[in-house]
Symmetry: C2
Subunit: 532 residues, 2 copies
């Protein structure tokens, strides 16, 4: 079995090649006008100091619980920039005391019961792909210890309904596993967040993850037909329904609950037939506002493209397209039912009306989705997480944040964020950096812009420098009307802004819900609700 990396994305051995890594760093060196970078390396895991485990699992749980050094290290962090910085620094102060590897719902229940008795925090741990501190046992001093509850043993597809295109799966199943189980039926969930390779279904639901499609049914919110959650107060399982008007949706209370109310152990999800018809191409724009307009009009057209992602000139260049001047719209349609030519033709008309240019030849290639800009974008998108550890080791601050905003407020938000981040990078690093944007998802009423910022940091100060940049970014997002997160979730990192964003009365209802479902307050404390 493959071993997960302690530092970096994915499994051991699954890295950039030295040539790829050198290439990326050389590009950065040119951009920052430096000769090279001082590199830090990962300390020997065996030598990393961990506090003694404060919890002793009861006899009945000894078979699934571990206080093994590597298990604790591997369950300390998610995949955020500060997670990587601290990993490379050998700082594992918040390591969980115990890792519990649940194989069954009974295991989950037993761990929740034990935690309440032992006054221990429980951190549900799926793929461990949180980029917002959602799986870190930074739970404050009021607990007698912390248990990382690893759910990846709950990894089965339990039912596949080929008539209604639904499937029942356990919460700990990872993206590739669930796709493998659906493939023999000709089906796919087609929910491919960037964390797909590792992320679990339960984690996707708990964090409201954003999917493959740029439009229409794409959020995991839309793909959940019913959910089963083990809360400390008992199981909460909603009825399998394609739609319902019976009171507020129980599903929507658990979707986005980030482990604070309980553990998502099962869900019925909406799947679909694997696409057989495809069309894709890329459209270039000289002016950013023209590209934005084109994406807006396509999103409001009712054509529902599978992809209509906008990459600004910098983002396009970072992904290997163009000369750094052209803005790019990656446009694609797919269907399991019908050829999509009429759809693509109309979407391209809209782009042309907005002064976009596209390569008519590339479109005719049936493998176009694997080739050209679209294909390169797919590859870059998949490889992207691997760029991050080399960046940290070279002292480069490289992070992303994302939001969503109504169209009529986008221009102001975009200008505000871009100028705030350029200024922040100069203030924090003493040097200019890079800020780029793309749209990951678009709605008829607004886009979900996704920002990347890059600055040349300083070893030893990276955490603090990153923290200041993240604060400036989050302030700008909130100030201009955006949401603190469109699909990365709240976790611990976004809490100060989440508390500013949500209506005060809604915060009170969340407290009341938490008190009801988790009366001892052991579930992922500090996430969604400030720890007392």
């Amino acid at each position: 079995m493959n071993r997960l990396k302690l530092c970096g994305w994915g499994y051991e051995g699954d890295d950039l090649t030295p040539e790829e890594e050198d290439g990326v760093l050389a590009t950065y060196a040119t951009r920052f006008e430096v000769d090279g970078f001082e590199r830090t390396t990962m300390p020997d895991p065996a030598g990393i100091e961990l506090a003694a485990a404060r919890l002793t699992p009861p006899e009945t749980l000894s078979g699934i619980c571990s206080t093994d050094h590597m298990d604790r290290l591997l369950h300390t962090y998610g995949e955020s920039y500060p997670d990587y910085v601290r990993t490379l620094a050998g700082d594992f102060a918040n390591a969980p005391d115990v890792v519990a590897f649940a194989k069954t719902e009974a295991d989950v229940s037993a761990v929740l019961d034990w935690a309440a008795d032992a006054e221990a925090a429980v951190i549900p741990y799926g793929g461990g792909t949180s980029v917002v501190g959602g799986v870190e046992a930074a739970v404050g001093g009021s607990f007698k210890g912390a248990i990382s509850l690893d759910l990846t043993g709950l990894d089965r597809v339990l039912d596949v309904d080929t008539t209604g295109l639904t499937a029942r799966m356990q919460g700990g199943i990872r993206g590739p596993q669930l796709e493998a189980a659906l493939r023999p039926h000709g089906l796919t969930l087609r929910h491919f967040p960037q964390s797909f390779e590792l992320a679990t279904l339960g984690g996707m639901i708990a964090t409201r993850s954003g999917g493959h499609f740029a439009t229409v049914y794409t959020h995991i919110d839309d793909l959940v037909e019913s959910v089963r959650c083990l809360t400390p107060s008992g199981p909460l399982e909603s009825r399998r329904l394609p739609g319902s008007g019976a009171g507020p949706s129980p599903d929507r209370m658990m979707i986005g609950s980030e482990g604070a109310f309980g553990v998502i152990t099962e869900a019925w999800v909406r799947v679909r037939a694997r696409p057989t018809f495809r069309a894709s191409t890329n459209v270039s724009f000289d002016r950013f506002e023209d590209a934005v307009n084109a994406v807006r009009l396509v999103s409001q057209s009712g054509l529902f493209p599978s992809n209509v992602r906008l990459l600004d000139n910098m983002e396009a260049w970072l992904n290997g397209f163009g000369d750094g001047k052209q803005h790019l719209v990656v446009l694609a349609f797919e269907s399991a039912d019908h050829p999509v030519d009429a759809w693509m033709a109309r979407a391209l008309e809209i782009c042309q009306e907005c002064h976009g240019r596209y390569d008519a030849e590339a479109m005719r290639d049936p493998d176009a989705h694997k080739a050209g800009a679209t294909g390169a974008w797919r590859t870059a998108f998949i490889k992207m997480p691997h760029f991050r550890v080399p960046a940290v080791s070279a002292g480069i601050i490289h992070d992303t944040f994302e939001t969503a905003i109504p169209w009529d407020r986008f221009d102001q938000l975009h200008a505000g964020i871009t100028s705030a981040m350029h200024q922040a990078i100069r203030d924090v690093t003493g040097k200019s950096g890079y800020v780029s944007t793309r749209f990951t998802h678009v709605y008829p009423d607004g886009p979900a812009p996704y920002y990347t910022f890059i600055g040349l940091g300083r070893h030893g100060a990276l955490l603090e420098q990153w923290g200041e940049l993240k604060r400036r970014a989050s302030d700008a997002v909130l100030e201009h009307g955006g949401t603190i997160t469109h699909h990365h979730a709240v976790g611990r990192d976004h809490m100060p802004w989440y508390e500013r964003q949500i209506p005060a009365q809604f915060a009170e209802t969340l407290k009341a819900v938490k008190k009801t479902l988790d009366p001892s307050g052991v579930m992922n404390p500090g996430v969604l609700l400030a720890a007392d």
Copy 2:
């Protein structure tokens, strides 16, 4: 200004013609093999006895509060079958003590404050179109009185955003008013529940109403960008966002809250350009299961028709189509952006593959949506509510109920409901009756079937007979896995089944939310949560 009817749908003078009424009753007479019907008539409103109002509004509210006899009568009921039976019987035992006509948010707040002080129940009253007892002041003995809070004075469109296709509206605006305000901008909400003529936006949101489109974004749930709600604990206003991954959705907690948590005073809603391209036709099927299959495959095709409503043979016949043997699928596409021929062509191919037959000529008519089966269906759909009072007055029990169910469970649910209702009508009325079905909305994972049942009741026993039929229907829906309501809401009539349907832990969270937002428990007591 038009006056609303005390008994029956719509405004005074807006009735079936005597000929239309006679025609409908003659059809019923033939079907029930009777010579005619004993008719009851509406008593003189002035002579209807009302208990003395138990509440005296404070001086500050005297300008908006009324204890006028007609105001109290007009705010006693919604538009359900038992509402009509009791109206015709002159039974207004649950009339509110006071009707408060709010013109501003300040009025709403003042009424909520007064209610808490006076220990009076508040029944938010929008269009008064509830068919589930949602606006009836049947609040039990623990209150010192009941206030019907009429919100139709909050009837303004406050902002129209033609870039992002959104608009901010007050909660008391009725369907035709909001469409009239959008029309000059070339926009439409295009949310046309059967109650459209009277229903208010806030009521639609509070009850999760189902819209015009049979597929994709159609529920009011999908059309709400943000919501503002005055709760007894203070205002709850969500941020305007096209999408968000920041914790559980605040909007989804208020959507479907049925007045039990507060009053929806404003919302930003997603609107769209008025359609200019249309195609519609009707497809006939000999076998019901073929029609179901066709609708399922179309709903799973990604074509997203605006209409793909199935009418079974009985329903088709009741609406004036065919000979009572053919099942009908009403199929339509519309767009403000592009011709929809390619969409319709593929949908018709699917129908043909399922042995459907259609009239190719009718399709070519640009006014097809106003003519033929589609047009007749529209007219019948709009006129349908007017058939109900004549039915009651003739002692005919005629009601509908609706649900939603995954496709793989539909056959069993449909057989179960149909046989249960035929048996129930025989048991209750001593005579065979009629049970028909249509699909009002379809999802890739299941349909929303809508049932009509008709039996020959007995004057004096109608309420009891209807009650037994409603119980049998609701039991059958729950037993076979459906939801107690897909878009009619819970109200008071569905409470026993809602309590069976929702997960126990979710019921506990709703109690906690209610306690938080409405600590005195004055908001629409008995709805969503059993009155203590």
